[in-house]
Symmetry: D2
Subunit: 284 residues, 4 copies
């Protein structure tokens, strides 16, 4: 496996950013393997994702941030450095529907996701057998209105112990508290079973059925304090007709949920997403 470094940055748009960043890598004998950029012409913001091979790179990985900091300062960059050999830890949250959870675990087994999945958390024990099948610890934190915050504290403690970098809500039917969300800003991916912003909240398939839409969809987004309103990462739709019952909508929808969530998780793990102003830049 090649050892690479990925730099994700955003800053006010200005002359010379690409030149300085690529020079920094070139002068230190790095070989750029991918590079992508975006300018928001309205907001005058510049976004960049650049990845380079560290073979022969003159700066030790742990000192790259330090050496890069003058450029970052000069352009007032927000940035992140990711190293290919540091495998992120992902925790999946689930309630009673198995399809997204199993789909993620199977894709992980197939090698689609470069991450560890050291635990699963649920508010029910219904799906604990999946933890057993895949040999992954399955923790249950039942939640009532009263116990919610208390249970979340225990969850946060556990997530810390497991050094979790990303939470995936694979049809987790509990709303997380603002405090919880703040601890994992832009690091909680939810799958909502509608084509957002249509049909937020409960029973989106029933809402879609009643409205008589001709396509149903699924939306993967980062969780923010406002329900189903965070930055959208990925969406897709499938055609339905008057012949489809509510059950058919749910069945067809499951395929969209699985595919859309998997794409979003993969993009996140590949460090291909930048968030700004409740939107995402996807460097695919």
């Amino acid at each position: 496996m090649k050892k690479t470094c990925t730099l994700l940055l955003s800053c006010p748009d200005k002359k010379g950013i690409v030149a300085e960043v690529s020079n920094f890598i070139y002068k230190n004998d790095g070989n750029i393997t991918h590079s992508d950029e975006h300018r928001d012409d309205e907001e005058k913001v510049f976004f960049m994702r650049i990845e380079w091979d560290l073979k022969g790179f003159k700066i030790e990985p742990e000192r790259i941030a330090e050496k890069f900091s003058p450029i970052a300062k000069k352009f007032r960059m927000k940035y992140d450095l990711k190293f290919s050999w540091i495998i992120p830890n992902v925790c999946i949250f689930v309630s009673k529907y198995e399809h997204c959870l199993i789909d993620l675990l199977l894709r992980h087994r197939e090698g689609e996701f470069k991450c560890n999945i050291p635990l699963i958390i649920s508010n029910h024990d219904k799906l604990s057998y999946i933890g057993e099948e895949f040999n992954i610890p399955f923790y249950v934190f039942p939640k009532s209105k009263r116990s919610k915050l208390h249970q979340e504290k225990k969850e946060l403690k556990l997530l810390k112990e497991y050094k979790i970098n990303l939470i995936v809500l694979a049809r987790y039917m509990q709303i997380l508290s603002p405090y919880f969300v703040k601890n994992f800003k832009n690091r909680i991916i939810n799958i909502h079973h509608s084509f957002l912003p249509s049909f937020t909240g409960k029973n989106p398939y029933l809402q879609a059925y009643k409205r008589g839409v001709k396509l149903i969809g699924a939306t993967a987004h980062y969780v923010t304090e406002k329900l189903d309103s965070g930055p959208i990462i990925e969406q897709d739709v499938i055609r339905v007709s008057h012949r489809d019952t509510l059950e058919d909508l749910k069945r067809k929808g499951r395929d969209m949920e699985k595919i859309v969530l998997a794409r979003a998780v993969r993009l996140h793990l590949q460090n291909k997403i930048l968030v700004y102003k409740n939107k995402t830049v996807i460097f695919d």
Copy 2:
């Protein structure tokens, strides 16, 4: 050209509907060329579209309704009879954007729509040159808040003179009054430039742009008193990304608007749509 009769009906679900209807046709020497049905299991409603060749049919067209009425009564049917040689008259309403109007006229010229288009109505004279190009009378009724109802009356009078059966709002940027709508119940098709129910009202592309959706859409629906809330006939979507500006959204959206509106108009003209409970049954 074959002369055919199309029967569209809905009624409470009951044994024997198909048998009685098909027998009625068979006994009178009609040859069924298409037949499609639908049952709404929740509402216990039965829907049917049946078309038959009138060659050799024992009943004169003008007496079919009378002869069919006992069956209709027995099953408490709502129904419509359409004859293939009666070409409906369509009036297109348009404001300042030409793409949907021209698209409809070109498809009409290509033979995709079996209808006459004897006039175009607009609240501006901007696109009157298109009327000239296609040799179709182009009427202008400018509307202010004060003049609206008055102008609508003149429009209704004109529509009556031209014996208009269907109105198509091809990006017509005026809200029709409830009175106007009532005169053309389920006979006004609008194209809304979003994937409804997302982004109703003004500037849906701007709304979509701001929300950061990954797909944009268009929706053709029958106009009801409530804005952008009528029965949906057809929808489609197209992928967008962070690289797409608002202008790109509008450009990509135009293709969806044209295609979705054309499909809806064609379905209506082929008598393939049944409306119930703010939803459509599409016999395609």
Copy 3:
């Protein structure tokens, strides 16, 4: 569960088919729950799928064929009767890729397929662990050029023992002999990992990669003697770009393979497919 009977038929087009068939059901007190038809105007062939509730039906299920035969004879129909309480037995064939097999088994567990899956057959033992996980006997018949016909005989014997009605090739990488295929005419569904008729035969993803197509697809079809040329049941595609490596094509393609195969299997199990002239009529 309602007990229903489904009649699938095709015959030369003629007046009175719908009337006679629906009368047969109505006079014997059956309640039609679904009915769909198709006429091929070129070939002058009529196709029908009609399903009715047997509650109160005057004819015993085992005598329906006999009582229906005069109508069948009169119109020279080919027909099939399917009863809702007779659950078909399905055997899945697989080689070394697990994704389609697991996907089918999970959908079966979710209730998407009304069938039994009493055994899995493979030419390798690589995936036998899946049989164990799902508690389904997993038989291995390795095949060489020399042993192939001999092994097929053993397979056919086993399929007979298990009363198998449908074979699903879930990425089974062996070509079946004409003799084997003849024994399961229109009852073997294969998933080919390309948008047929493009890229038949080996390594379709590599072929697609080399040709530089912008969409890749998957095709589910009935197996005939001629490789990848049988009647197509379902197809779908997904967008790819120059950024996608061969591995990406395979990964994206897996999602298409799973979805397309599952749709085809479901349609078959619902008795919604009629085959004629190497094409399918899909009553969805």
Copy 4:
């Protein structure tokens, strides 16, 4: 309007390309507005598209190539420089079907294409009225087997007079000679009315109809000496069913043809396409 320069290049992959190119621009006070890259890891080839604002750029446009040449030599680049104020001249070739031609002309009028369309060439006079409607000279060169090469010479002469940069075959039903093609290498875009490589040659809709595919498509590609085998620029598909007649396939296909061809022409005019090894890199 901003004045920009776009550099399209490909070369063997090597360290420092991005750094040198971006430095060249930065040192001369150019402001990069877009930049995109691609590496083919198998072929070890590097591709780049970089666009910068010439406001304040120290090098005169006509001397940029000269000043850039040392970098180009060093990395053995093939490259092209495009200036935003040089509007390319496009000639549309058409035979008897109007839809693609009109669609292109309407999009041009809407501002979707930054180009001039100073003439239309046809082998028939059937569509000459469109030239009149849009006020564009319409030349007719009827072709027989014997006259073909002679007529092509006259066409080439005309194309030279009009300084044509790009030829668009908008359903032009004549095969161009290798000599003609060589004169416009990677500068002739054809729309083929199938999902290539399926159904090359004549009557692709009839071929698709006979094969019973469930999706039909359209493909825009650069013309090479080998029929329907050039580098694919864009493809799209639309769903069809057994209910669709051959005429329906043609009607549905027209929408795909128009959209796919328009996308390809737009990409070419935006200098977003690089060709290598019979494939395209699309910098969208």
